[in-house]
């Protein structure tokens, strides 16, 4: 779409969206949020970017292919689980190297296997949603319609 308002708004909104998404991911353990919701927010951000600048621009912007992101997410989630398996002897049990319970309240930096796992969920959601969205955009777009919408013709993958 060649809309100046949308173009400008997107440029401003995208960084905000990403920051909010990451904050949502970070604070999820204690407040509403978490990997899944954060991932959805980031996916909406990708969708916004894609709708504004087109699929190919969005792909370039993401750098990694969406399914690669999803794959990394799954790897991160499993790695988080294995971390617990190595340290605590139970798959997916939480490990907090910088965070400990002092007199019943937790103190320190809440970074550990749980955050890694949640990041994995985040990446999977972003990756899969973007992948399907991109594929849906690219699937069987009639050639004339494409020009009409101002979507660039030079696709990376071609036919």
């Amino acid at each position: 779409m060649n809309s100046i308002i949308l173009n400008t708004a997107t440029r401003v909104l995208v960084p905000v969206f990403i920051i909010v998404a990451l904050m949502t991911l970070w604070r999820g353990h204690n407040d509403p949020g978490g990997g899944f919701i954060g991932g959805l927010l980031a996916a909406i951000c990708v969708a916004l970017y894609e709708k504004t600048f087109g699929v190919d621009e969005a792909r370039r912007w993401l750098r990694l292919s969406p399914m690669m992101i999803a794959g990394l997410g799954l790897t991160a989630a499993i790695a988080g689980g294995l971390w617990g398996a190595v340290v605590n002897g139970a798959f997916l049990s939480g490990v907090w190297p910088f965070y400990a319970s002092v007199d019943g309240s937790w103190e320190g930096l809440p970074v550990g296997s749980i955050l890694l796992f949640d990041t994995g969920v985040f990446l999977v959601v972003v990756g899969v949603v973007s992948a399907i969205l991109f594929a849906l955009e690219e699937a069987g777009i009639p050639e004339d319609r494409e020009e009409e919408d101002g979507v660039p013709q030079d696709r990376e993958e071609g036919a």
Binding site: P32, G34, I37, L92, G140, R145
Partner: protein
């Protein structure tokens, strides 16, 4: 094949044979303990929660089978290594055979019913791959599939039977189960287990797959037939005799099925002109004999059957391999193409004569001892002596003629062969069968070595020891008379063989064949399947959605009607704000239903979702509300993108059928929700998480803590499903794109 012309496998091809030989030697070290009747157990934990162990037991019965598997295995592996030395697929063949041998070993050594069953199925699968080894050939594929289906179905029955036995006994260790003969479910267990054994050992009427399995390469056939696969059923019958045996049903079933298999198979064996096929039919005869013997119950019947296992393995392996020698050396397996080869192929001749004599049951070969014992057993059977003896004599006489066919026909008379200069193949190929053939003679002359092992085996099967009876000369008795009678009839049959074969060929058309029944059933199954697929999978989204929603509606309403909860009343005193949200949702729904514009429909759908998100907020489910809202946004984006590709929307006219489905489902869900509210909340789980989320998982957001900590495995599974769904969606969308281009 062209590319195999220059191929020559390296010395690695002898490694599997060496491994088998080493295993054989290792198993030999157990001979003294097993013969003394002391079993050796090896037990590892496997699934302790279900009481399943990887338990193995070496007693006389399993040891004999293990020795056959590894001993004959070593010979067949050596033979195969040479037989296919110029074939690029040798590596695959040896790998498959090794996997098969390993499965077979686990099967006979397993003392745990589940371990046994897993190995049983592994043999089914590996033998399927071996039978279908020449997978370019349509026939080989068909025969492999046939073997897989028949033995696979039997395997399912066996699994049910074994689990039943295990749960009744409270243990899966076979050696710890008592007799089930008096249990009320005895007949069910027996039926299921025997179904597995009969299909695996190709008993009538499941016999047809076994000659079909001849599509396998010769060394494989030799291995499957002599030592392993088809004997698995016999082995299991012997193994489970203490648990299931000794009853009238057992005795009569095994005797009748075994006898019919034996006689039918030995007739059809003579009909064959392909020596390999003929041997395949005689294998069936041997299996029938074994079943009948195990059913006989008496010391002699069981002892005879167990001796015959060894006897049969020795002569069948050497004869199969000898036919392979003929095939390689003279270029054909057809009995009519071969004659007078005794000077050109003296070694093959010697092997065939020695093994054939054992098969014919001539003294002083071990085959004679086996036959004498089974005649003795037949005369002491717990069913009808006359019946068993008559059937045995008929089958053995036919077998005598068949032995003559393979051991004499190709080697006497005018020299004739497909190859110009027939000659014996290399020593790697003939040494193995020669050893086996000589063993048949040696064990016949000096049966004392076998005595202890056979006696110990009978004790394992019958649970009581008996006097050692494995000897060459039992004196002039009824069994010897029957033997002489057998030789006489067999000699006449062999003499009149051409005439007999002609009449059998004529009769073949008229005899109903269970292979035909199999084909009819299989075709019916295929037709039903394709009819179902055509009917249910019409490829139209609307049909799938209708089916899904109708099913869902039926389930919800069934739950409402058969459930026993109170339905909560709608509280009219709810705050006005709540009513406003409901009104917005209802307005959106009405808009979706009646609008003709897609844009309005999508937007209104988003309105419904957002309204529901607000309700979640009202009840403090912030996480759920956020998820709902964000998902709603994405759905609108996705639907909008998808709609660009769809044809123009219809007129928006109301479709009565769909409207009814929607109304019924919607009302059902509403009532179900009210019923859930009416049931009152159990807060046990909530309280647990409220109490433990922070101290144990360092998180105050219970929802998130549950997702990533307490029930993280579920989340991991869901995330994996999301990725898989993504891959599937990509594949589907890309496929559509290809079609459109």
């Amino acid at each position: 094949m062209k590319e195999t012309d220059s191929y020559e496998a390296g010395p690695w091809r002898f490694v599997p044979a060496a491994v088998q030989a080493a295993l054989f030697v290792w198993f030999c070290t157990f001979l003294p303990t097993a013969s003394a009747g002391t079993p050796v157990d090896f037990i590892w934990q496997w699934v302790p929660a279900l009481g399943i162990e990887a338990a193995f037991r070496i007693d006389a019965l399993s040891l004999l089978f293990a020795l056959l598997i590894t001993g004959i295995g070593a010979i067949c592996f050596l033979y195969a290594a040479e037989y296919f030395h110029a074939d690029r697929r040798l590596k695959r063949l040896l790998t498959l055979m090794s996997m098969f041998a390993a499965s077979m070993l686990i099967l006979v050594l397993a003392d745990d019913a589940i371990t046994l069953f897993v190995a049983w199925e592994l043999t089914t699968i590996t033998s399927f791959l071996l039978v279908g080894y020449d997978h370019q050939k349509d026939d080989a594929r068909h025969k492999a599939q046939q073997a897989l289906i028949v033995t696979g179905i039997g395997g399912l029955a066996l699994m049910a039977g074994l689990i039943l036995m295990g749960s009744v006994a409270g243990t899966y260790r076979i050696s710890e189960m008592g007799s089930f003969a008096d249990h009320s479910l005895y007949l069910v267990m027996l039926g299921l287990v025997l179904a597995g054994c009969f299909t695996k050992s190709a008993q009538f009427p499941f016999h047809f797959w076994l000659p079909g399995a001849m599509a396998a390469p010769t060394p494989v056939s030799a291995y499957l037939h002599s030592a392993t696969m088809v004997k698995a059923g016999v082995y299991l019958v012997a193994r489970l005799t203490p648990q299931l045996g000794g009853t009238e049903v057992w005795t009569w079933t095994l005797t009748l099925v075994g006898a019919v298999t034996m006689v039918v198979a030995s007739f059809w064996a003579l009909r064959q002109t392909d020596l390999k096929l003929m041997l395949a039919w005689t294998t069936l005869m041997g299996l029938g004999t074994l079943m009948m013997g195990l059913g006989g119950g008496s010391y002699y019947a069981v002892g005879g059957a167990l001796t015959f296992i060894l006897v049969h393995a020795l002569y069948k392996a050497s004869l199969f391999l000898a036919v392979g020698l003929l095939d390689k050396g003279a270029g054909s397996r057809e009995v009519d193409d071969l004659s007078g080869l005794r000077h050109a192929m003296p070694i093959s001749f010697g092997i065939a004569v020695l093994a054939g004599a054992s098969m014919a049951g001539l003294p002083p070969f071990v085959g004679f001892i086996g036959k004498e014992l089974s005649y003795e057993g037949g005369l002491q059977t717990q069913t009808e002596e006359i019946f068993v003896a008559t059937m045995s004599v008929i089958a053995n006489a036919l077998m005598f003629a068949a032995a003559g066919l393979v051991a004499i026909r190709p080697f006497f008379g005018q020299q004739k062969s497909k190859k110009e200069t027939p000659k014996d193949p290399s020593i790697y190929m003939w040494s193995g069968p020669a050893i086996l053939a000589l063993l048949g003679l040696l064990l016949g002359l000096f049966p004392g070595g076998l005595d202890a092992l056979i006696t110990a085996m009978v004790e394992v099967v019958r649970g009581e020891p008996g006097a050692p009876e494995v000897k060459l000369w039992h004196g002039v008795n009824a069994a010897l008379m029957l033997s002489l009678l057998t030789f006489a009839i067999g000699g006449v049959l062999f003499w009149g063989l051409p005439e007999l074969r002609r009449s059998l060929t004529r009769e073949e058309q008229r005899v109903p064949d269970s292979a035909a029944v199999y084909d009819v059933l299989l075709n019916a199954l295929r037709d039903t399947a394709s009819w179902t697929a055509r009917t249910v999978q019409d490829g139209r989204m609307m049909s799938y959605l209708r089916a899904t929603f109708i099913t869902l509606a039926l389930m919800v309403w069934a739950a409402i009607f058969f459930g026993s909860g109170n339905v909560a009343r709608i509280d009219p005193a709810a705050p006005i704000f709540h009513w406003v949200i409901v009104a917005i949702i209802v307005a959106c729904v009405i808009a979706i239903i009646f609008t003709g514009s897609r844009l309005i429909a999508i937007t209104a759908l988003g309105g419904v979702g957002s309204g529901i998100a607000v309700i979640f907020v009202l009840y403090s489910a912030i996480d759920v509300a956020m998820t709902q809202l964000l998902t709603e946004i994405l759905i609108v984006v996705f639907v909008a993108v998808a709609f660009i590709k769809l044809p123009r929307a219809g007129t928006g006219a109301l479709r009565i059928g769909d409207a009814i489905i929607s109304a019924v489902l919607g009302l059902g869900i509403t009532f179900a929700m009210l019923a859930v509210l009416g049931a009152g909340l159990e807060r046990d789980v909530t309280q647990f998480f409220e109490a433990n989320a922070y101290p144990e998982a360092a998180g105050r957001n219970i929802v998130n803590v549950i997702l990533v900590d307490f029930r993280a495995l579920d989340t991991l599974g869901e995330v994996a499903v999301v990725v898989i769904a993504g891959i599937a969606a990509l594949a589907a969308l890309r496929a559509g794109r290809e079609v459109n281009k």
